[in-house]
Symmetry: D2
Subunit: 339 residues, 4 copies
Amino acid sequence: MIVVMQGSSAVEEVQLVIERMVELGFNVHRTTGVDQVILAGVGSPSHFDVAEFSVLPGVQEAYRISSPYKLAGRSFRPEGTRITFPNGVVVGGEQVTMMAGPCSVESREQILMSAKLAAKAGCQFLRGGAFKPRSSPYSFQGMGLEGLKLLREVTDETGLLVITEVMEISQIELMLPYIDCFQVGARNMQNFNLLRELGHVRKPVLMKRGIAATIEEVLLSAEYILSGGNYDLMLCERGIRTFETYTRNTYDVSAIPVLKKLTHLPVFGDPSHGVGKREFVPPLALASVAAGADGLLLEMHPNPEKAMSDGAQSLYPEQLETLVAQLRLLAPVVGRTVA
Amino acid sequence: MIVVMQGSSAVEEVQLVIERMVELGFNVHRTTGVDQVILAGVGSPSHFDVAEFSVLPGVQEAYRISSPYKLAGRSFRPEGTRITFPNGVVVGGEQVTMMAGPCSVESREQILMSAKLAAKAGCQFLRGGAFKPRSSPYSFQGMGLEGLKLLREVTDETGLLVITEVMEISQIELMLPYIDCFQVGARNMQNFNLLRELGHVRKPVLMKRGIAATIEEVLLSAEYILSGGNYDLMLCERGIRTFETYTRNTYDVSAIPVLKKLTHLPVFGDPSHGVGKREFVPPLALASVAAGADGLLLEMHPNPEKAMSDGAQSLYPEQLETLVAQLRLLAPVVGRTVA
Amino acid sequence: MIVVMQGSSAVEEVQLVIERMVELGFNVHRTTGVDQVILAGVGSPSHFDVAEFSVLPGVQEAYRISSPYKLAGRSFRPEGTRITFPNGVVVGGEQVTMMAGPCSVESREQILMSAKLAAKAGCQFLRGGAFKPRSSPYSFQGMGLEGLKLLREVTDETGLLVITEVMEISQIELMLPYIDCFQVGARNMQNFNLLRELGHVRKPVLMKRGIAATIEEVLLSAEYILSGGNYDLMLCERGIRTFETYTRNTYDVSAIPVLKKLTHLPVFGDPSHGVGKREFVPPLALASVAAGADGLLLEMHPNPEKAMSDGAQSLYPEQLETLVAQLRLLAPVVGRTVA
Amino acid sequence: MIVVMQGSSAVEEVQLVIERMVELGFNVHRTTGVDQVILAGVGSPSHFDVAEFSVLPGVQEAYRISSPYKLAGRSFRPEGTRITFPNGVVVGGEQVTMMAGPCSVESREQILMSAKLAAKAGCQFLRGGAFKPRSSPYSFQGMGLEGLKLLREVTDETGLLVITEVMEISQIELMLPYIDCFQVGARNMQNFNLLRELGHVRKPVLMKRGIAATIEEVLLSAEYILSGGNYDLMLCERGIRTFETYTRNTYDVSAIPVLKKLTHLPVFGDPSHGVGKREFVPPLALASVAAGADGLLLEMHPNPEKAMSDGAQSLYPEQLETLVAQLRLLAPVVGRTVA
């Protein structure tokens, strides 16, 4: 920690800050400039709140310098994390991972058709929600357990892996037999109890960035899962909330290379939620891979106009096929491949 | 719903939109202008997604006109909601409700002192967290059940009511015997499963606005609780995330009169989290009541420098006393009182 | 400046950073911790860009510690700035300054009536635009010089002072004979050429915060005017742009006490632009004074429904009168008065 | 315009709204539903403010349906705008236009070297500021006229075109003899007087999106230039301000395809300002072209560590070369070429 004292700070104020730092376990190095005193605290006390120093009398600014996440940091595993799934699919390697499917599981027919279309287009994962977080209590809330069973059934048939959203601790046990990967939605990125439980599970997790989460908060939430012992974690940019309302969110493509630098975890992009209108999904999907994404999470529906949720941002099956074809050409430009 | 067609839309495109609207159960009224066709859908189909219309061919814009919340709307209870607590305290009446206390329960001594100080300053509620949502898994996570027991004990002793945060469905049962009011934190405002459960409880709830939640989303989340049958709900502004970083959040004082207009539910302000630095809490607390708040939620600690969390934004006990004295003078200007 | 090196930084990387700092004129103090090297640069080189250090190899983070504004800082004039106008009105003293009037000067009749109503309600200034910045080139752009003459005429008649917006360097000369105070609008807060010219004028200026300006940027823009020698400067919060769209902007009441702490300049609030709907202006005006504002800038129109711009946020004359009456009661609570 | 009345609105309130609409020149079509009255105003009155309707008694919501810009809209020129420069370079065609150079002109040697490097890497334009908008009055403010002359000199020598920023009306005349394209910076996107003057010039303009400008505001500002008769206009995304501070701004890649849909004007990307750190510029440059950009504006400096401004985000010459090489491979995937 570094504490910069005000130019006008009194000797006693400096003294008080030093005492507090020492109390916490810091070794304090003092630099006395012409204008200001600077105190550098060396050491890593397990518990301190930099904000508390910033309001002490005579303090101008206090900075935390040690990064508050350890396991999520790139230096923990400089070579990058690779996750190998039961069927041999590897996430985080040279190949860009493609996940596609409808927002919600709606019926056996719909989800089977979705799986076939996703497989045909070259995807490795089928996405589809069985439990749905909806802003309104009057909206469709998902098929629940029945939906999970259908997901397993149709992916077994098509050779895909299943990723689906978990909203609640009590759903974890229920889901385990049916799925290959848990998805934590943006609204639950700071549901710390849920994250902690997922840290104890032995099944990969893809965690989406919260709608107002900073990069640092994404990594701190990742830390909750990693510190429980589950290292098979993927992160996913899906758009942040800004003043711009033409798109559903502002899809922060720059978060992809930034996260790739800061963490060893694979980084996905979800342009469907990022922009919210299907016509803009393909250009942003291309942009994501151009910017270094390890994978894409895309909404696709056999019949988007009839979708029970998020139809407006779901690709038509042909759009997905065309997009994957473009990605196959684009990926090699940035040293990647697409199946 | 209203659908505005593009100037250049084809007859078949208009026809398709009309068919979709009819399918959903709308009566469609068509206005043909010189430039554009406008379709007004009359009726209230239980399920439709306005975004799906906005991406249909030939559509310029689609607007939902019926408000998506019903029970939370002001017209549901124009006179406003009043909540009466066991000891006779009424929230939502003429008197502004004061809730104060530390971020976390840390020890018997600390919480007892907090309760005494809050009572002495004229507060009706003691706040204090037993379960803490912390961005980092390495921060203090609260005393749990032990904390709940202490809260009950010291408020019984001082005649205060207890409000404390619930983070997880499994904590609800645990908390019921010890508390007077559940607090839903900003990070859980869209934890819909938790909200739904709180709708089935017969104990008041204070729900904070999410850090990136629009006013409409606040009311939709309220709808989850109300639609379960729990009408004893209070809302609380606590700052939103913006580009400004000097304050911890941007405390949106305007949300207070806006919510008072849109809903019958009592509206609180939490300037402690709103600004994050104790010196700015009193001016913003005064501003909140001047703007029409029904109550305040304030962090106060007997010894803020030693607080285990949020010390920087916790008032000194004397600051709280001075503030309440000022509020007693200010409240009558806007037709309210402070005890 | 403080430069925190990465844990893994090489000796040569540290050396390079030190050389750069020395080149710029810093005295460098080095703290070598267990994990990291910290370099504190003491001294105030006239030109350096902290961002350039943050991208040097081996650097984790670089912080500027000296505040980049000098004349605007509170310490430059701890007692606070008071501005005395020709008719004896003092801004920045105990009395809260009231400025009111229509968005635009529309006609002699309209502006005369506005002046009479503002004077009757107890205001010291008449506001009204002669040159209007409008988002659309097809909107009403103001009466120009004719409007300036009318402003002078009706204020001479009513004993008020005139404040009006300047958009362009060439308008400064034109305005000087007619006005008492220049207003710099939010869109021009970073029109540095305009600010520099206003620094050379001997007439007070009220500068509004830009819609996306941080507190620090407000103070840097103030510095442009102050460094030209014009110390008669007032700042004005008027709402920032956030994700919330129910209000026109998010009126950042907390900026008022924050600015009061950081600078000696008087701080105003403009809740009319802050919220954009007249019914919310009075509660936010009260909140602004409760939070410490030195004055208010309010839109009021004799007939808001007929206003040529901003009618929706203009107060009815009676609303202004009621508001001032409430402010007279509220101001003493925070040690102020209202005329 | 569409006005949706509240369910509880009185007959007189509906009547009043209708009268106002008729007064403005609208033909009013009324739809009476079970719950609500909807009023559709057909026609295009030259002046009206939708916000004024939204605050009339009994009104729930009012929507403007005609787009407020005409000349900037895609339908004005569906085939897209192409701008041909004196040396034959075409912007808005199949070839992606590359503009690169330092933030500021600093010396003859520096700008000549920059021009040679930009030309060698395959760029068509040299960028470089002679007049600099700087947040602090104490920062380097540019070389002025001398800088303009140097720009012309070195581009004549290297066969490049010159683009440079104009900050002030009085600079327009001064610049005309030396430059090929005016650049309007983000801070001046709503300097309407400047835009209006640029509408009267016969020289192309590239206008950057303001840091807090919505897509609609970008197009309204474009309208100022177009309505003056200057159709040679390019738009440029350069990052918006959000809560995320790791990057200098949040570079909104999605604005590129959105603008391409809404307007016929060529759309550029400026990832240098978008992200602010050079290592993230190449991935975002690739993303921009993948998303459909017509051109890129990049900061490159022969010696970024010695740059007098924006060094941290300036590419090394070799980085620019490598990037252009990658773009040559990527562009064909989206039907474009790079020289």
